[in-house]
Structures are given as C-alpha cells and as structure tokens.
Symmetry: C2
Subunit: 235 residues, 2 copies
C-alpha cells in the first residue's frame, strides 16, 4: 500500500545542526572575553526559545538571538565590531554548502520511480528553498513542503492536500518530536534516524521507545531494506 | 470564465510598508546621533538589496540589515544598547497588529462564494502565516500560497498546482513588479491598486502604463464593480 516516502531535510538529508554547533562555539569564544565562564549556551538557548514565538525557526532568527544574548550577557558592553562578526556568522551559515549525509544520494536513487518522494521541512522559506536547490536533489522530489511548524494539524493538511491516505505514507526524519510523533498520531508510519547532534528544543529522544507504527534506523543507507520489508508486509 | 481571485497581502489587504517607514524613521533618529546627516536611508537600502540574496524578504532580514548598516555607518561606534533597540524595533514590527486596508472586509464578503479566493504573498513564512491568522480573514480564503519570490516561474507553478487556467484567474496587488507583470506575462488578468508608500525595490510604477490584461484601481473598494464588468464581458 506504501506509495509515498516523505523526508525531513535538515539532519535527515543533509547536515544542519553541526553548522549551528560550530557557530555557537565561535559565539561562546567571543562572549567569554566579556563574561568569563558565564553559562553562555544556556543563555542563548533561553533567548532562542523565548524568541521562537516571534522569529520561528531558522538562521536569521538564530542570528538575532545571538546578538540579543551577546548584548544582554555582556551587560551592553559588547563592541560593535564583535556584533558585526555575529552577523557575518549568520551570513556564513546561510551560504554554507549543503553537505548531504552519507548514503543519501544512493537511497534516493534506489527509491525513485518506485515511490512518490516528498520533502517536508520546517524553517525559513527562503533558506530552505535555497538549500533544496543547492542540494542537487530537487529534481528527485515530486513535492516539497516547507512549513512553519511540524505538528499534527500541519501534517494533516499536507496529506489532505496531496490526497494521501495515512497507510500509503512513510515519513523519515531525525526528530522524534517533529517527524515521528505528529505523523504516527495520524496513523502514518514513520522511521526515526537519529542525527549525532540534536538541538535541545527538539528533545533528542534517540533512545526513547517509539510509538506504534514507528521504526528506528541507525543510518539512512538502511532505509531501502526497511522499505522492502514494509512493502512485503514482513514488518 | 473568471473563477478565482488571488490577492497579494502586504499593502493590498493590510498595511505593511508604513510599518517599515515608521521603523526606518526611528532608525534614522538613532543613527543621526552618531553620523549627523549622512544619507542613512540610502545606506540602509544598499545593505538590504545586497543582503536580499541571503536573507530574502521580511522583517528578520530587515532587522539584521538595520544592525549591519548601523555598525558600518557609525564606523563601529554604535553602542550595544542602541543595537538592542534595533532588535526591539524588529520584534515590535513582528507583533504589530494587522491593520486591514479600508474596505477589505466588505470586498472579501462581496466576492466570497461567487469566486474561489486565494492569497499569494511573498516573504517570511512564519511572519506571513502569523499575519494571515491575525488578520481575521483566514477562513475566507480557499488557499494561501506563501512564496520566496514572485516571478513568472513561481506563479506558473501555483496556477498549475491548483489546476487554474490562465483566463479563469484575476490577480490583485499593489506591486507592478511582483503582482502584475509576472502574471500578465502568463496571460492572467491583473488589477493594480497602488499603495501610498512603495519600497524602492518594488519600483513604484503607480503611474506607468500597464501591460494588456491589467487594470488599475484607486482603492480596493472598487474591486467588486470591476469584477462584475469583467464577468459580464464589458471590460
């Protein structure tokens, strides 16, 4: 019955969170010159979560949250030239080459033609479109959905718009919170493939028991074999 | 043959550019304390256009461009507490109430039921979704399309996805560049309703001759009468 495989993008098809981690390390280094060993990571995370309601997900919001945190944590002592560096960090992230995870190209090639392939990703529209274009994978997908939040209501709308019955879809992603729980709640099967870094807000859950209808793989290279099992009804 | 009316959102359904203008005046006031009467507006515009490639359209990118301009124009002399104010300006813009243009509610009520109504808007996904939700108009639209850029290719995709033949659609918007030219190039009729402030990048054009298939109205309140004429074949 399986006809459609939908993929999350960031940290499922290509590396993303590592880019945030590397930038955050550079941010920490700048801030430490002002405030020693204050818990800079925790302060940045607080700012990010507080700003989510206004900024949503993505690099531009992250950059604004870095600047806000830098000003607040430094007691407004941070120099303009250091803030300029934070803007440049954001720009470097936006221009960073899209690096596919190991095995992604082979997996897409193996599944293409047999299934309708989709991307369902959240974040900044402009940045996500740019990454899909730069990934070299765009032509392989029958549909790309970029959404502001990945919750049940959003997935329901997407599946309805594409006239996809729940038992025909398999969702693949690295976040239990965004890619697995909201789709299994709709009766859609899902595959969790943990990424080695997970933003705190996505609540790793890489070792939590999965809900019924969800599978876990260590690497995306193992997906075609799982799909074959699902199609043959063995799993 | 007309079955679908598609509306641009910012400065067509609700005020938007005035919010940028008001913020930019506050920005100018802060910067003038550092640099006297340098051409701050021109410098900000240069930064915005240069950053469009990375940031796309929207308030977060505008806020980052304000900060960058402030640092560069002040020769890195701007104080952190003034940069903090720029972030707060951006947040205030994101939370600003959505103010419908005069007549919008009556026009939507008059057309609803008779036509399929759509929104086609560009900019930041998260912010645009939030504005549509806060506008109180969401339930009146059959479809909402938020896109990164309004060019011919994007409109073609939208019309194809919704299976809309060119002669069944009327596009309504305030920007000749984004709402009129790319749709009339596809053989779709359009209505230009100028807004009293236009961002330089959208190239006003409020007095330029329009392409064939395009009409111009002074206010959206006049739209139902024009639609009646188009339907009756009188125009």
């Amino acid at each position: 019955m399986l006809s459609t495989i939908a993929f999350d993008a960031d940290d499922t098809l290509w590396h993303n969170e590592t880019l945030f981690s590397v930038t955050q390390a550079q941010f920490r280094e700048i801030l430490q010159r002002y405030v020693g060993d204050a818990d800079i990571d925790a302060r940045l995370y607080e700012t990010e979560v507080r700003n989510l309601r206004l900024f949503g997900y993505g690099i531009k919001g992250f950059t604004l949250s870095m600047i806000e945190t830098a000003i607040d944590v430094s007691g407004q002592q941070i120099a303009a030239h250091d803030i300029r560096r934070l803007i440049d960090f954001g720009k470097a992230m936006l221009e960073h080459p899209v690096e596919l995870l190991d095995g992604v190209e082979a997996v897409i090639a193996a599944l293409k033609g047999r299934f309708r392939l989709m991307v369902i990703t959240k974040g900044d529209l402009f940045d996500q479109e740019s990454k899909i274009a730069r990934s070299g994978l765009a032509d392989h997908f029958d549909a790309v959905e970029i959404v502001a939040e990945k919750d049940e209501a959003t997935y329901r709308q997407i599946f309805e718009r594409h006239a996809l019955a729940a038992d025909t879809v398999l969702m693949v992603g690295n976040s239990v919170r965004s890619d697995i729980l909201p789709v299994t709640a709709l009766g859609v099967r899902a595959v969790h493939i943990p990424y080695h870094v997970t933003w705190a807000h996505e609540q790793a859950g890489g070792d939590r028991p999965l809900p019924p209808g969800a599978h876990r793989l260590e690497r995306i290279a193992d997906l075609p074999a799982l799909v074959d099992k699902l199609v043959s009804g063995a799993s």
